[in-house]
Every structure is written in structure tokens, then in C-alpha cells.
Amino acid sequence: MPSPDRRLSVLALVLTGVLLVVLGAWTLVARSALPLALDGTVTSVEVRHEKHPGVDDVWMVTLDDAAPRHLDRDVARLLARGAVVEKAAWSSTLTVNGTGHDVGPSRDAWVFLCLSPALLLAVAGLGAVAVRRR
């Protein structure tokens, strides 16, 4: 019979794992702008290079005086300095200078969302093995 100490430890690690899966999924979905409410004027669009320029570039977009926000390349390419942007949270339409554009999760976001149940299963499964071990 495992000790209560081990059960609580496993629970703490499993909860940590669940939070991390949610963090990864949310971050990738948020980069599509889908869950975001946007209303303002673009003050900068900056491309920052990562390890593989052209593949994993980071597109940072600033609206008014807000902090730069990492958006998917396909979304950021719709924007330019001075563009007026409007979007309701969870709306799939991003309005740029009065013209609507469809936005949605990137391929990476969809793949991570599809992988998430397997990640949660891995966390829960190893937790169960650890609890049942003599």
C-alpha cells in the first residue's frame, strides 16, 4: 500500500503536468488571435529570428501602448504599422482597416490540441503506475 505521502506527491506532479499541457495548448491557440479581443492601432510589427530563420520566426505585434504580442505569421502578415484592428474574443473574423479576414488555429495549434489527450494520458498513466507500485 503506497503511503499518503506518495499519493500526494503523485497528485502534485499530475496536476503540474495538466497545467503544462493547458499552457502549451492555450499559448498556441492564442497566437492565432482567435480567443483575443483586439481593438486599436498597430504601432509595430517585428519579426524576430529564432534558431531557424524562416521556419520558427517570431512575429511580435504591438497595438497602441500594449506589450508586444506573439501572433502567428499568417495573422501578423495581415497587419502593418498604422492599421486599425478590431476583433471580438472568440470571433473568427479579424477586421483590419474595415476589411474582415478569417483567423483560426495554426497547424501547430491543431496538432498540439490533438496530442493533448495523449499527453494527459501519459501523465495520468505514469501517476497510476507510481501509486500502485509496491
Partner: protein, 136 residues
């Protein structure tokens, strides 16, 4: 049904880490750094937990504390020496998830169930493979 203690406690988690790492590699072919962060996070944590198990075996809360420490060390390195374009929460999530799976594998480990050598071998292989994929 209780799981046999004849199998090193760390071994199932090493298998799961390799399977999940393989899934990352196959599903994100343009982003091998996702798999790299995941594997390196697991590898670094196995190393830390192997040392912790040698020093203070059988203390489950120590494994939790060291796993969280590994997560924080990962945040620190991503924010400093490995920071390129930004501190990326996806990289943090992937490497920390690797750390958590390693922690779950070591939480029931003892000094005598061969988990320590398994964890040390896994640590070396996963760190080399992880860094290789992250910077490939």
C-alpha cells in the same frame, strides 16, 4: 493490481518519454525543437532525481521538490542563455512536461531498484538527443 517492484520504477517513464518524444518529432516535422525541449527537460530532470534518490532515497516529496526545481531551472535557462527571440511558453511547457514525466517515474524509486542507473543512462541519452533536436 500493484506494479511489480522487480522492474526499475524509472523504466516505464523512460519508455513513455521516448514514445511522447517520438510523437512530437513525427507530428511537428518543422519544429524539431519541440521534441528537443521535451527530451532535454526529461533528461535534465532524470539526472537531478538520480542524484536526489542516491542522497535521500524513498522521499516522494523530495522528488516533487526537485522536479519543480528542474522546471524553474529550465525557465531560468530559457530566459537567459537560451533566449533568442522571446521566452517561449510553448518551449517551457514542452520541457517542463518532460520534467514531470521523469518525476512521475522516479517518485517510487528506491536506491536498490536500479532506477538510479536507468535514470542516469536516460539522462545522458535524452540530453544529447534533446539538444541535438533543439538546435538541429
Amino acid at each position: 493490481m500493484p506494479v511489480s517492484s522487480r522492474v526499475p520504477a524509472a523504466l516505464p517513464s523512460v519508455v513513455v518519454v521516448l514514445l511522447v518524444g517520438g510523437a512530437y518529432w513525427a507530428l511537428f516535422p518543422d519544429r524539431t525543437d519541440y521534441a528537443g525541449h521535451f527530451l532535454a527537460g526529461a533528461g535534465g530532470t532524470y539526472a537531478l532525481l538520480a542524484l536526489g534518490t542516491l542522497a535521500l532515497p524513498g522521499r516522494a516529496w523530495l522528488v516533487v521538490a526537485l522536479t519543480w526545481l528542474a522546471v524553474l531551472l529550465g525557465v531560468g535557462t530559457e530566459a537567459t542563455v537560451f533566449r533568442l527571440a522571446e521566452l517561449d511558453p510553448v518551449d517551457l511547457a514542452n520541457q517542463s512536461l518532460g520534467a514531470v514525466l521523469a518525476g512521475l517515474g522516479m517518485v517510487a524509486a528506491t536506491r536498490h531498484d536500479r532506477s538510479v542507473p536507468v535514470a542516469l543512462v536516460a539522462a545522458g541519452a535524452l540530453l544529447v538527443g534533446g539538444f541535438g533536436l533543439a538546435f538541429a
